[in-house]
């Protein structure tokens, strides 16, 4: 079965990012396909590589990146939500005259069309958030 994952909440806020990750991992372990993980609203904060949690805490950002690498997942951050919250890749940084970018490895910035496409391609879309 094809699942689409929608994450609407930032990491370390409540629990949605953890639940989304654990669901995604469990689905992959069972042999299901993850069409895409789409980060929207405060969920875009899952995609900054500047995150530095304490060493004895889980690194939510790296964890997504590592899972994406292992399973070739498509981690998409909504561009408009990202711009508002200061999540930028090299292209966005250049376009907006910023002095740095901060997108984490494995994530890329794209538009809401990717969310719609995920809804079309997936058998189920799972929403996690507030």
């Amino acid at each position: 079965m094809k699942f689409g994952i929608l994450v609407n909440e930032g990491p370390y806020q409540h629990q949605a990012s953890d639940t989304a990750f654990n669901f995604t991992k469990a689905a992959l372990d069972k042999g299901h396909e993850i069409v895409r993980v789409f980060f929207y609203h405060d969920g875009v904060n899952n995609g900054t590589r500047l995150t530095t949690p304490p060493q004895d805490d889980r690194n939510i950002v790296n964890r997504w990146g590592e899972l994406a690498k292992e399973y070739e997942l498509d981690l998409v951050v909504c561009v408009a939500a990202a711009q508002r919250r200061g999540i930028v890749d090299a292209d966005e940084a250049k376009r907006h005259g910023k002095d740095a970018d901060n997108i984490a490895e494995g994530f890329h910035i794209s538009g809401l069309g990717q969310l719609i496409e995920m809804g079309i391609k997936a058998d189920r879309v799972m929403a996690f958030g507030d």
């Binding site: 654990n22 991992k25 469990a26 799972m126």
Partner: protein, 100 residues
């Protein structure tokens, strides 16, 4: 159809909204702070007992454990599932609605 509720019934009205709108015969999964609704002896117990006559109710085991809730404190009839069970519920339901 699977409904998920991730908010405590003592904080938000997600559970009430879910119970008001879910069709009889649906599955309801309590997760995150939503698992507090599964505990015996609270003011929502009667509501949950009523819900159990219309729906199959599940609670996410790891979230119970994270909150120190032992399974013997759960309302009878509520089934505990893990993340793999969550995936199975989502896969076997034709639709999924998250009440946030």
């Amino acid at each position: 159809m699977l409904h998920t509720v991730n908010k405590s019934p003592f904080e938000k009205n997600s559970l009430d909204t879910c119970l008001r709108l879910a069709k009889s015969g649906s599955e309801i999964l309590l997760l995150e702070d939503g698992v507090y609704a599964a505990v015996k002896g609270t003011v929502v117990e009667q509501k949950m007992l009523q819900a159990l006559s219309d729906y199959s109710v599940y609670a996410l085991g790891p979230d119970l454990k994270a909150r120190g809730i032992e399974e013997d404190r759960l309302i009878d009839g509520i089934e505990v599932v893990g993340y793999d069970g969550f995936v199975d519920l989502a896969a076997s339901s034709d639709r999924v609605q998250s009440w946030l």
